[in-house]
């Protein structure tokens, strides 16, 4: 009869959050972020290795496959600080790929691939296509089976960190149904990858041509489990995007507050003007709501109410992160309009974040179906 608390947060999560916060603060001050923007790979492989060594890539992978057997609630405690410090790594994609394999992989696939991921093999997700639709079943790439070999064709887009990835998990149509295929990066020629120019300059995004690529037929994930795995993938993606957005909003708000409390105009600190002060409060309360949704979603993500919870988190966090970034630019005045001002980093990140896996309007539409029908 005890009422279940809406948010649970274990000792373990608390420790992880603290560690991750300190790690990200140390490794990714904004100057480092700007350096990585200029660097080809877009992230520091040394940092990636440290993350792997900390066991972060295996957090939600069962112990039998080399992970620590925790859950997505623990992953969130890493993703939020990463977002806060704009530390763009393949962490999210790699983690999500592992979950797809866990959900739909055959025993052999799990044994073969999960330990590699847990150790830090960068994994890229190739699920998007040129149409830009958020529906994971809207897939036009194809796979044709020929004996033990699959021959692939078509183009995947917005594949982050594909160049440095060791594994690529792609969606294709196989016999008319959406299938997930594991591709060893070495099966792709370098020329199959084209770097994309995206709004969030901390990202390294690629378009991948699958034309003529062959993979062993054994690399297809279990067809019977693919749909449920994709559904869970959508939820988990939204969860991590929400975590990233919550972290990003917090940093963006702090950056703005710093300016509002030091910049003077008309002989007053500009933060004393209500038009700025009250908006900052609106962002604060919006962010608090987003973070409450986030940790609630992290608590119930694997339960029946998980979908509702995570859609709320994504809707709220997308909207507030975008707004916080927008106001950060505006409130920095002329300086906000320059590349030098960090406000743009957050606003650009928010655009990327919002445009992944559905924006606020999209998720509210789904929520209406869940809650009103």
């Amino acid at each position: 009869m005890n009422t279940r608390r809406d948010i649970e947060f274990s000792e373990e999560q608390q420790q992880l959050l603290e560690i991750a916060e300190n790690f990200c603060r140390d490794k990714s001050p904004v100057a480092a972020v700007r350096t990585q923007i200029e660097v080809e790979d877009g992230f520091d492989t040394g940092i990636w290795k440290e993350m792997a060594d900390l066991g972060w890539l295996g957090i939600a992978i069962p112990e039998e496959f080399g992970g620590s057997g925790l859950g997505m609630g623990e992953v969130v405690t890493i993703a939020e600080p990463l977002g806060r410090n704009l530390l763009a790594t393949p962490f999210e994609a790699t983690t999500l790929a592992a979950q797809l394999i866990l959900d739909a992989g055959t025993d052999a696939q799990k044994s073969d691939w999960l330990p590699r991921i847990a150790e830090g093999s960068i994994t890229a997700l190739a699920l998007s296509e040129e149409h830009g639709d958020w529906d994971l079943n809207h897939v036009t790439c194809e796979a044709v089976k020929n004996g033990d070999t699959l021959t692939l064709s078509g183009t995947k887009t917005l594949v982050t960190d594909a160049k440095r990835a060791e594994i690529i998990l792609a969606s294709v149509k196989l016999g008319g149904k959406t299938a997930l295929v594991l591709i060893d990066r070495s099966a792709l020629a370098d020329s199959a990858l084209t770097r994309e120019t995206v709004i969030d300059e901390t990202r390294r995004s690629f378009r991948i041509s699958l034309d003529g690529v062959s993979v062993p037929a054994a690399n297809v994930l279990n067809a019977a489990k693919t749909q449920s795995a994709l559904a869970r993938h959508h939820k988990l993606s939204c969860l991590l995007l929400s975590a990233e957005a919550c972290g990003g909003t917090a940093a963006c708000l702090n950056e703005t507050l710093e300016y509002l409390t030091t910049r003077r105009q008309f002989d007053r600190f500009i933060g004393s003007y209500q038009s700025l002060k009250h908006t900052a409060v609106d962002i604060l309360t919006g962010m608090e709501a987003a973070r409450s949704f986030l940790y609630h979603a992290a608590t119930v993500i694997e339960e029946e109410d998980g979908e509702t919870a995570v859609r709320m988190a994504k809707a709220q966090s997308s909207e507030i992160f975008s707004w916080a970034g927008d106001r950060a630019i505006q409130f920095h005045g002329g300086f906000g309009f320059t590349y030098e001002c960090d406000a743009q980093l957050y606003r650009r990140r928010a655009m990327w974040n919002t445009n992944q896996h559905g924006d606020a309007v999209y998720h509210r539409k789904r929520l209406a179906e869940l809650l009103l029908d």
């Binding site: 005890n2 608390q14 509002l260 007053r268 409060v281 608090e288 949704f293 809707a315 509210r364």
Partner: protein, 405 residues
């Protein structure tokens, strides 16, 4: 009883049973939704009896000390009882100022005599309390209180008036902020906080008609009213600090309240239910995509407040700004309630124009009335605009505007 605490589960069940058995049935008059809306004797007497019944059953002031009328139990038990009373939509506790402001204040800094004299009667609803902070010309600016209290021996002679004294005509006591020294450097000095008896000569509460067309507030006039210095709480001249302490209880940043819910809040579930009973464009309102989006936004706001409260209980998840959630509650809750009333009204098409008193009014006209009454919370206790100043300054550390004098 404070030694052998009942089992939580058993207690929860006990409360649930008691409430189920004892909660009042539907009345033939429209009940007010908070103590600020009590407009008739019939409403008042009904609510007073209900609070008394809850107290007698042991479900009010449970965490307050036994020696003054409480039960000295952990707050958790009161929370369970309060939640259950709210969940079963029982009437609210009418002695709100007593339970949530005066009581906690007296327990916090009152004298032994004051505790003995007042606390139990607050809980039992034998003595109603009202508040005398706001004045007609200085609405939100409490520090500018001008009601004069001039010392005359061991008494103070009071002249001036207070406004928004809910239950003023029923109250036995008022928590009163008055200016005992007009010649101070700062307006925040020279104020004194009294526990003022309402039945003395020269104190006259006059009901004010609200924009809803109903009553619920008074303007209380002081005409050479004589108050004893024994009525002071805190120290003479330090009334501002006492008032701030009192407001902390209200704004929910600290605890200490007696429990029991103080509002019969409208819920989003009720609005969804209404939506299902109304049509838009020839189909059920809940099929209209714009209405759906609006309802989902409201559901989210509602859930966010609940989840904020849950998160606020986990220190690691509120470490950056622990005051943020508690201090925003009043702002968010009051604006949400107003929005709820507004959306609910808008669902009714042309029939939204019916008002309380019309047979055709949907749900007796509670929705437009609810929207209008909701302003009491976006205005009272510090307007939403002032709440944002406070949050901006105290939680976000933003600077105040420069002092002008």
């Amino acid at each position: 009883m404070s030694e052998t605490l009942p089992d939580i589960e058993a207690f929860t069940e006990e409360v649930r049973d008691w409430v189920t058995k004892n909660k009042p049935g539907k009345q033939d008059f429209l009940l007010p939704q908070s103590f600020m809306e009590v407009g008739t004797d019939q409403q008042f007497e009904f609510l007073r009896d209900w609070q008394n019944k809850v107290y007698e059953a042991g479900y009010l002031g449970m965490s307050w000390p036994k020696e003054y009328g409480g039960r000295s139990m952990p707050q958790e038990y009161q929370d369970i009882a309060s939640r259950e009373l709210a969940r079963q939509k029982t009437p609210f506790m009418v002695n709100t100022i007593g339970l949530n402001w005066a009581g906690p204040l007296i327990l916090h800094m009152g004298s032994e005599e004051q505790k003995k004299a007042f606390i139990k009667k607050i809980l039992s609803c034998e003595e109603i309390w009202c508040q005398g902070f706001s004045e007609p010309d200085h609405g939100s600016d409490l520090g500018n209180a001008q009601l004069k209290a001039e010392r005359d021996g061991k008494d103070f002679i009071c002249n001036g008036s207070k406004i928004w004294t809910s239950l003023g005509t029923y109250a036995k006591h008022m928590i009163l902020l008055a200016r005992t020294d007009p010649n101070t450097n700062s307006k925040y000095e020279g104020l004194t906080f009294f526990l003022n008896p309402m039945d003395i000569e020269g104190v006259d509460p006059v009901p004010i008609k609200k924009m809803t067309g109903e009553y619920g507030f008074c303007q209380t006039y002081f005409d050479n009213a004589r108050i004893s210095e024994d009525c002071i709480i805190g120290k003479e001249g330090e009334g501002w600090q006492v008032a701030m302490t009192t407001l902390m209880f209200e704004r929910g940043a600290t605890g200490g309240q007696a429990g029991g819910h103080s509002m019969m809040s409208t819920t989003i579930e009720e609005v969804i239910d209404l939506a299902k009973r109304t049509d838009r464009d020839g189909a059920c309102s809940t099929e209209d995509p714009l209405i759906r989006d609006e309802l989902v936004k409201l559901i989210m706001t509602s859930r966010a407040m609940g989840l904020n409260a849950a998160r606020a209980r986990i220190p690691a998840l509120v470490s950056e700004r622990p005051a943020s959630i508690p201090m925003s509650g009043k702002l968010l809750g009051s604006e949400y309630a107003k929005k709820l009333g507004e959306v609910a009204t808008s669902l009714q098409g042309a029939n939204a124009s019916y008002y309380v008193g019309d047979d055709n009014a949907i749900d007796g006209g509670r929705w437009p009335r609810g929207y209008l009454n909701a302003f009491s919370a976006t205005i009272g206790g510090g307007t939403s605009q002032i709440q944002k100043n406070i949050i901006g300054e105290r939680v976000l550390g933003l600077p105040k505007p420069p002092r002008t004098n």
